[in-house]
């Protein structure tokens, strides 16, 4: 019987599967339910300093087995989120607080609050809009990324994960800018759009959205592989995982754990137990005794 436990930046996980930020993680009772369905940890919805409604509906497009979303960082604001963390922590499993801001000081304030609320780690959502505008993301600016990560690491004591955007020309440059982080989370959504040809307009209220799901898995696997090979740092893989094969592929590319999101749409909450069971069989068949045995074995 293989040992499916793993750890990332010192955080022990009973299995490698986490719930990704932005999926079923706004309400503490839902996070609790997802963990009761087998997820080893959850990453909360990305929380900002202020309450924010985000975009009005439509905020989602079903794109085959993938999704394009533009929720617009809807969130209750950090001061209204303590109770959700408290409820989620009843699971006894790690809860990772995701935060977004446009400057280092705000990121630090958010991180402090998440730590104070009991989060086991903080995940930096670097895909939020840059104050310079022009569609730029914070995560595309290496100097700003470095500043944010360094400030976070000097001010809070729980592990800091940097979630990197795939919408960059040089992922290694950005990864190195974030090298003080305890782990990388790769990848966030890919920029996308869906036009309805009969309505003759984009479907999403925001027009632009983020593509997630199986459509982007090859991008995620490549970036995990590239960044692991180049930096050797702990990585959590995310992007299109719906089967045990997907999870194993990310782990072989270099991830120590994976996050699942869009599969909650195609499979439902049972996706966690399905993958755990099948991964167990795969590991026994292929004679892997632990997750660590598989991490990065595909790297040449």
């Amino acid at each position: 019987m293989a040992d499916l436990s793993t750890s990332v930046a010192g955080i022990r996980l009973e299995n490698p599967l986490m719930l990704a930020s932005g999926i079923l993680d706004e309400n503490g009772y839902t996070m609790l339910d997802v963990m009761n369905n087998g997820a080893a940890a959850v990453v909360t919805k990305s929380i900002g300093m202020e309450e924010r409604n985000g975009y009005s509906a439509p905020v989602i497009v079903e794109y085959g087995d993938s999704l394009i979303n533009a929720v617009g960082l809807s969130n209750p604001g950090i001061d209204n989120f303590a109770e959700e963390i408290r409820i989620a922590k009843r699971s006894g499993k790690p809860v990772i607080g995701s935060v977004f801001a446009s400057d280092a000081e705000s990121f630090v304030n958010l991180g402090r609050k998440m730590q104070e609320y009991g989060c086991d780690a903080v995940e930096l959502n670097l895909s939020c809009p840059h104050v310079k505008g022009f569609g730029l993301e914070v995560g595309s600016d290496p100097d700003l990324v470095e500043d944010i990560v360094n400030e976070m690491k000097s001010k809070i004591s729980v592990p800091v994960f940097a979630k990197l955007s795939p919408n960059v020309s040089d992922i290694i440059e950005i990864a190195k800018a974030a090298e003080k982080a305890d782990a990388y989370v790769l990848i966030n959504t890919v920029k996308a759009m869906k036009i309805d040809i009969r309505a003759r307009m984009p479907v999403l209220t925001n027009a632009y959205g983020g593509l997630s799901g199986p459509a982007i898995k090859p991008v995620g696997v490549r970036y995990v592989y590239e960044v692991k090979k180049e930096t050797g740092k702990d990585i959590i893989g995310v992007g299109g995982i719906t089967t045990y094969e997907d999870a194993v592929e990310y782990i072989m590319a270099g991830a120590s754990a994976v996050q699942i999101g869009t599969a909650l749409y195609t499979v439902g909450k049972s996706v966690f137990r399905n993958i755990i069971s099948q991964m167990n069989t795969f590991m026994d068949d292929e004679k892997f005794h632990s997750i660590q045995d598989m991490v990065g074995v595909a790297i040449r």
Binding site: L24, N27, A57, G77, N80, T205
Partner: protein
């Protein structure tokens, strides 16, 4: 998205209209669709007619529903779905309890062995009362302007609940909650169609969640056993931004 053309419309009450349309897709009673009006927005709507033609009964409360109220034959809208878990229909005597426009979601399950309790704030807001013979119809209005003066959960004391094989309920959450408490105390078999703020409609954004369950996916129809110990039903919900607010209904 599926483009839909309105075939026919029927006014049900002030600010309430049924739009009839053709759509070759199976829809179970209690399921819903997301209705998109390009440029205006998207809202969840249950179907009041699930056969052919299909129908959606709209009450105006926002810009999308107001625009739908104003639709005439030939006008178009878009839908995706159907979504959700519908009613588990059983043969035998039924009671349906509809609050306000909630009765529209229950219409598809009404048959010749169905009694209906239709409630509204006032008589002008009663809809579909003409769909039932008088011997099978009960009416309640908050202000007593028609039928029983009071709320559905109060009226239930006057009925012999044991004659019903199953009871189906749809309406505002405060009404559902009080009816649930009453029916639970009577050990009645019942299903409730819930409604909460929806964004994605497909079970991933967490907007419509109630105690870990997603109204758009595990619901909108829940068995009474799923609700009686639910930590949020009748107690708290989250706003569009995701902030928890308490309903203070005790």
């Amino acid at each position: 998205m599926n483009r839909i053309t309105v075939d026919q419309v029927r006014d049900e009450a002030k600010n309430v209209r049924t739009l009839f349309f053709r759509w070759d897709h199976d829809v179970k009673p209690g399921q819903f669709v997301m209705v998109w009006l390009p440029g205006l927005g998207e809202i969840p709507m249950s179907l009041s007619y699930v056969g052919s033609p299909k129908g959606i009964t709209v009450k105006a409360y926002g810009k999308v529903s107001q625009a739908m109220i104003d639709m005439e034959p030939g006008h178009e809208f878009y839908i995706r779905g159907p979504y959700g878990n519908g009613f588990q229909i059983e043969s035998g005597r039924k009671l349906i309890i509809g609050g306000g426009s909630g009765i529209a979601s229950l219409l598809p399950i009404a048959d010749s062995d169905t009694d209906a309790l239709i409630s509204a704030k006032t008589k002008e807001e009663l809809i579909f009362t003409d769909r039932f013979p008088e011997s099978r119809l009960f009416i309640a209005t908050d202000d007593g302007s028609e039928g029983f003066h009071g709320f559905p959960h109060e009226f239930l004391d006057r009925l012999d609940i044991s004659v019903y094989r199953k009871i189906y309920v749809c309406g505002p959450e405060p009404m559902l909650y009080r009816v649930m408490q009453k029916l639970a105390s009577m050990n009645a078999r019942a299903e409730f169609s819930l409604e909460r703020t929806m964004k994605c409609g497909i079970g991933i954004c967490d907007s419509c969640s109630v105690g870990g369950l997603q109204v758009c996916r595990q619901g909108p129809v829940f068995d009474i056993e799923q609700l009686r110990n639910n930590p949020e039903f009748g107690i708290s919900r989250t706003t569009y931004s995701g902030k928890r607010v308490y309903l203070n209904m005790k």
